[in-house]
Subunit: 456 residues, 2 copies
């Protein structure tokens, strides 16, 4: 069960866990375009951002020069609870595919939030605590990010207010109860507790909510209350920065094994996990020290990289957050309700968007029935039930492994397994029952959405 | 964040993972009493057991002489997917309790089954495959064991038929879908597919099932079909044997850290996880090489050790399985429906029962609201949402740590954290909502149940 002494799982020792995050922007010659103020469409100022986000978060968001940002001691302590995460050699999957490729995956699901989200949640909670704030607000859809933030806030004894999209609140009571167990206050959105929520409830009685609406409520709840700020779980540059811990650990483990990857694959919704996984490898590529194929995988029903436009757009449907220059399908784009695989965000991290525009990485989209087929194969061979999101990366890794088989090449593939699917069994049930279909938006649908991009 | 260089988590390297299971019975001077045939009440013969269980399972069940049983290569390979499991130093919990005690826990929840059950499931599936069988049958209540067996059968490409208690089948669709994703056939019990099920459905229309009924169906489905056998997830000596991997890894890790525990604590339903955790320590104790306090923790609503009788009883409500001499509340005993903490079995492993009768270990019971309070504290400080079952051990470990504080002693406590609670959020919700009560059976209730013990 090993090849040149490579174990099934590689864990770093605690003193090998990185003590600084790596900031890809520092090595980019052409930086991501600046954020714009949603009201004025002028470059946003730190003062304006500080009303919404906590001070250190703003500093990190705007810092495209520092290559390394030290990880604070209390955050490193918390990381010890679930990090280092294992780098796994997928021996069983390789055998099932009968491929000469070597497949590794970095598994971020071994924590109660079930995903990589905790890497940034604990950092953001720490900075809020350090600033003397009372609490933070956020929105959550399926609940992964809300769970991670609840855990982080429990650790630092911060209030945590989560606006959860109402239909998820009702359909996913388990996620809600995990958050409550960690002491978070979970409010179905639209609620009657904010102006935004009351307005939507008045205009659309019986509304079951949307992420855009929940964001508006969470931002309002933060700015209208003394001692609160708003936090976000993906998309932002600071979140990509915190997630670099994934890639840094991966690279240290691969270096220890004497393995240089050929292809690095990650799923992409808002993009933060992918940005984190690829960070040190992209750094080498940006500095001309090494080359890798880097592949983003997105759902065919929400194809921002592969069918979107690289343009300024609102980050949220409610247009309260700053604009970013990014690959976007338009801020009103909502993937078909039949799409069960997550990664539903209309845009993409500005950092990754700029790298993609520069030709530093590839992107592809996959249809959801193929994603769930890959998930089933992976679960049965590798013993981990993957999140649908993560399964996009599994699907692409399997495709690359089969290409290697056809071409007789023993390339090394590394992919990010961002989380587990225990709370996604409704989607698995649809797949198990043969009720799952594929939805690929028509060109006209995307064009109609892109027509609403702001004129900047 | 460390004390004498003890890391937060200790992982063994792959070559330190044990290659044999340890059989406590070999070191017991007085052995567990023999099983009795349910029809004749005479000691059961291997031939009779082989109709129900696969051959190697029967051999291991009856082997009270071999100290070590080699772990087959393919089982060791599978173990690499989720083992070694971490031994965690509970620094954050110690700090929260402000205790001089040192607390460690062995965490078995980092796999898709969510518990230690996989340790035995893969062994039992392997022996069935080796014997050339087509498949196995089993029953499951909440679904933890059924999930573990489904994963094991998927790995060895064995048919897996799970009879799931009907009310769980309907109330826990997520567990059911995990099993189906692993290719298991999940049938709500009572079903129309067995004589036993049809009889119960005819006599009690609308019956929502019980574990006893599901066992009867699973055994019937195994013995009435060519190439099938029945497998069980706890109670049996072979299951305790397979679970010894938990204790062996724990002891190797503690030895490496130079730590000798004072107290070893585990929850006990059927007893297999506790038997596994304590195995090598109890071995030293049986051989007079070392002494440890060993503590079983059970629910106050199902107190077989602390309020049951050490006597021969049926292992199942349906009286189709052999009788064991064990601590039992009577085979008809069913804990109150208000009990949400698991560990609902009426009896206890015969091996542990004999050790308890010999005074080699302690037992105590805890009420469920205290258990969920401990679970909440643990989740918020150590970042893992524990299974209610495991939380019985957490509760007792916290009690011991507080005693150490009162007495000013820095004892070392090791407990088993058998699994995660992601599928138990209905119980957590009752706790979060303040709707959870405690139920302690009256003496008369237990006496009435014990009055039905078979006359042996």
């Amino acid at each position: 069960m090993n090849d040149n002494g490579i174990p099934y799982k590689t864990y770093l020792s605690e003193n090998e866990v990185p003590d600084a995050w790596y900031n890809m922007r520092a090595d980019m010659k052409r930086k991501p375009a600046p954020m714009l103020d949603p009201a004025t469409l002028a470059p946003v100022q730190a003062d304006a951002l500080r009303k919404v986000f906590c001070d250190e978060a703003v500093r990190q968001e705007l810092d495209d020069a520092s290559q390394w940002i030290p990880i604070p001691g209390p955050v490193r302590d918390f990381y010890r609870m679930f990090r280092p995460s294992p780098l796994v050699r997928a021996y069983f999957l390789e055998k099932a595919l009968d491929t000469p490729a070597r497949i590794f995956y970095k598994f971020e699901g071994n924590n109660t939030s079930g995903s990589h989200k905790l890497n940034s949640a604990i950092a953001q909670a720490y900075y809020a605590k350090e600033q003397g704030l009372k609490g933070v607000t956020t929105e959550t859809g399926a609940g992964q990010w809300g769970t991670a933030l609840s855990m982080a806030c429990a650790f630092f004894k911060l209030d945590c207010r989560v606006f959860m999209v109402k239909c998820s609140y009702e359909q996913k009571p388990f996620r809600r109860e995990v958050m409550r167990t960690y002491g978070a206050e979970v409010t179905p959105s639209p609620s009657m507790e904010t102006e935004a929520g009351r307005r939507i409830n008045a205009e659309h009685p019986g509304c079951t909510g949307s992420l855009g609406c929940a964001i508006s409520e969470a931002v309002e709840a933060a700015v209208s209350r003394e001692g609160y700020r708003y936090v976000l779980g993906s998309v932002l540059a600071q979140v990509c920065l915190h997630q670099s811990i994934i890639g840094l650990e991966t690279k240290t483990a691969l270096d220890r094994l004497g393995v240089k990857p050929d292809i690095i694959i990650g799923c992409a919704g808002g993009g933060s996990n992918l940005a984190g996984l690829i960070a040190p490898f992209m750094g080498e590529k940006l500095r001309g020290e090494a080359d890798y194929r880097i592949v983003a995988v997105e759902p065919a029903s929400c194809p921002s990289f592969t069918r979107g436009r690289f343009a300024y757009d609102f980050c949220d449907t409610g247009r309260v957050c700053p604009l970013q220059k990014m690959y976007t399908l338009g801020h009103d784009y909502i993937p078909s309700a039949s799409h069960a695989g997550g990664l539903r965000y209309h845009g993409m991290s500005a950092v990754l968007s700029e790298l993609y525009a520069q030709g530093m990485m590839e992107a592809r989209s996959v249809e959801q029935t193929r994603v769930f087929q890959a998930a089933e194969t992976f679960a049965r061979t590798e013993g981990i039930l993957p999140a649908p999101e993560s399964s996009h990366a599994i699907c692409a890794a399997m495709d690359e492994a089969m290409r290697c088989k056809e071409e007789g090449k023993s390339e090394t593939i590394v992919f990010g397994l961002t989380g587990t699917g225990y709370f996604d069994m409704t989607a698995y049930q649809a797949f198990n029952d043969g009720r799952m279909g594929d939805y690929v938006p028509a060109d006209a649908e995307i064009e109609a959405s892109l027509a609403k991009l702001p004129k900047v």
